[in-house]
């Protein structure tokens, strides 16, 4: 019984652990070696999906800290990733409050809006308050692939949620 409880806790914390691991480790989703333009932003997909479906497993405080860690590791000004992630959280919260039942298509559409706002905030702050030059083409590819891959991760995370965690939060 205690073992099952522990396992359940670990499975519940899975998305958050993955989010922390992605931010602090060398593991990344920049697959330029596979295909030169192939990069996507997995943390944003994780945050959006889990805040939407199971907010009890994804505290906003954790998301804030993950953003700070990401900034330190990547060399961005502190707080910029946190702001971008929290904008995604806000959109996911809003959609959850407004809708009773969501589908993959509706989630995809609302994710698009969240992603655009989050990236807009991130890159406009970086452009105006930092000396770092960034390729706009890369931003475009990154946004496109993040959006394009959202349904795939939606299905994967839904399978994980249904089999290992349990139903959606009320």
């Amino acid at each position: 019984m205690a073992k099952a409880k522990l396992l359940n806790k670990i499975f519940n914390a899975g998305p958050l652990i993955l989010l922390y691991y992605l931010s602090i480790s060398e593991v990344d989703t920049n697959l330029e070696k596979v295909f030169e333009i192939f990069t996507f932003n997995l943390p944003i997909i994780i945050i959006y999906f889990w805040i939407l479906k199971k907010p009890s497993e994804m505290g906003t405080g954790h998301i804030f800290v993950v953003g700070l860690i990401n900034d330190v590791v990547m060399g961005f000004p502190l707080g910029i990733s946190s702001m971008s992630y929290l904008v995604v959280c806000f959109f996911a919260n809003y959609v959850r409050n407004k809708s009773i039942n969501t589908t993959i298509a509706s989630d995809w559409l609302t994710f698009f809006i969240a992603l655009i706002f989050a990236n807009l905030l991130f890159f406009s702050l970086l452009n105006n308050f930092s000396d770092v030059a960034i390729s706009y083409t890369k931003i475009g590819y990154n946004t496109f692939f993040t959006l394009f891959l959202f349904p795939i991760f939606w299905v994967l995370f839904s399978i994980y949620q249904n089999n290992l965690i349990g139903g959606q939060d009320a």
Partner: protein, 282 residues
């Protein structure tokens, strides 16, 4: 109409201020905190800079530990694969030996090149300073689509300062752009923010090597009507007063890009050249 507006404002407020369960803080309070931290960092006060340096040092080391399994896995699988492909490797090595033999035949070409490079070097004192190097280990090599940089395990404690050149096996890798007490960030040559004066070819043509956020940086500001050729060696010209003249960088490709001698994704140890330590403040 007014009902739907109320509905919108309730959902909006709720999304910003909602707390409970795992949500210990409201999104609004965290966004305000993030903005506060952002501006403190951007308009860097000394205290904040020092705090950030300490945070950087700690996070980089934790990041190094967290990345260990990811590093070990490819090494283990590579070891097994190598064991099974010994024969194939043997054939590859034979081909490599033949290539080296053909390189010997290019002695005349290399002699000319050497003469030109000697003209460029023009500074015996610079080469004598090369002993002042710091060997450092790559702590974090996180591949970002936007910034191409690595973190090394030596910082201001070892005498490293911003702007110092970083190399591996005497081939240029990049330069230091950020220093902490125990770690530093190295901007790689293929980063969009990287600009390096270089020289190439038998005529010692001058150019600027510019990062293009892709695998290979490209050559810019070449003489008019310059025709790109394959396999021309590119060296640092040292005209910026930072990089040692003659430091090898890579070979040209026909499209104007430069294939770097050092694969930036395979870096384990690098050397930081402290050559400018007592001469110039960056």
């Amino acid at each position: 109409m007014s009902v739907s507006r109320d509905d919108f404002s309730i959902a909006f407020r709720s999304a910003l201020l909602q707390r409970g369960g795992a949500q210990k803080f409201s999104i609004l309070s965290l966004i305000i905190l993030a903005i506060f931290i952002f501006f403190l960092d951007v308009y860097g006060f000394t205290v904040i800079k020092k705090t950030r340096n300490i945070i950087n040092d700690v996070v980089f080391r934790v990041s190094y530990l967290a990345s260990s399994p990811a590093r070990l896995m490819p090494n283990a699988s590579k070891g097994i694969a190598d064991h099974f492909y010994l024969k194939e490797e043997n054939e590859k090595l034979k081909k490599a030996i033949e290539n080296y033999k053909s390189l010997d035949l290019n002695l005349e070409y290399l002699t000319n090149e050497n003469k030109n490079l000697r003209k460029v070097l023009d500074a015996e004192s610079e080469t004598s300073n090369q002993k002042r190097i710091v060997l450092s280990k790559v702590l974090v090599d996180k591949n970002s689509p936007f910034l191409k940089s690595i973190i090394i395990n030596k910082g201001t404690k070892s005498g490293i300062k911003k702007g110092m050149p970083v190399s591996q096996d005497n081939n240029l890798v990049g330069r230091i752009v950020d220093t902490n007490f125990l770690s530093s960030r190295v901007l790689l040559l293929n980063d969009l923010n990287s600009r390096i004066p270089v020289t190439l070819g038998e005529n010692s043509t001058q150019a600027i090597l510019t990062g293009s956020a892709t695998q290979n940086p490209k050559l810019e500001y070449l003489p008019e009507n310059y025709v790109f050729k394959d396999d021309v060696n590119v060296f640092a010209s040292g005209k910026d007063g930072i990089f040692t003249p003659g430091t090898p960088i890579g070979k040209t490709l026909e499209n104007g890009e430069v294939k770097l001698f050092v694969d930036s994704s395979q870096l384990s140890f690098v050397t930081v050249n402290l050559i400018r330590l007592n001469e110039e403040e960056f």
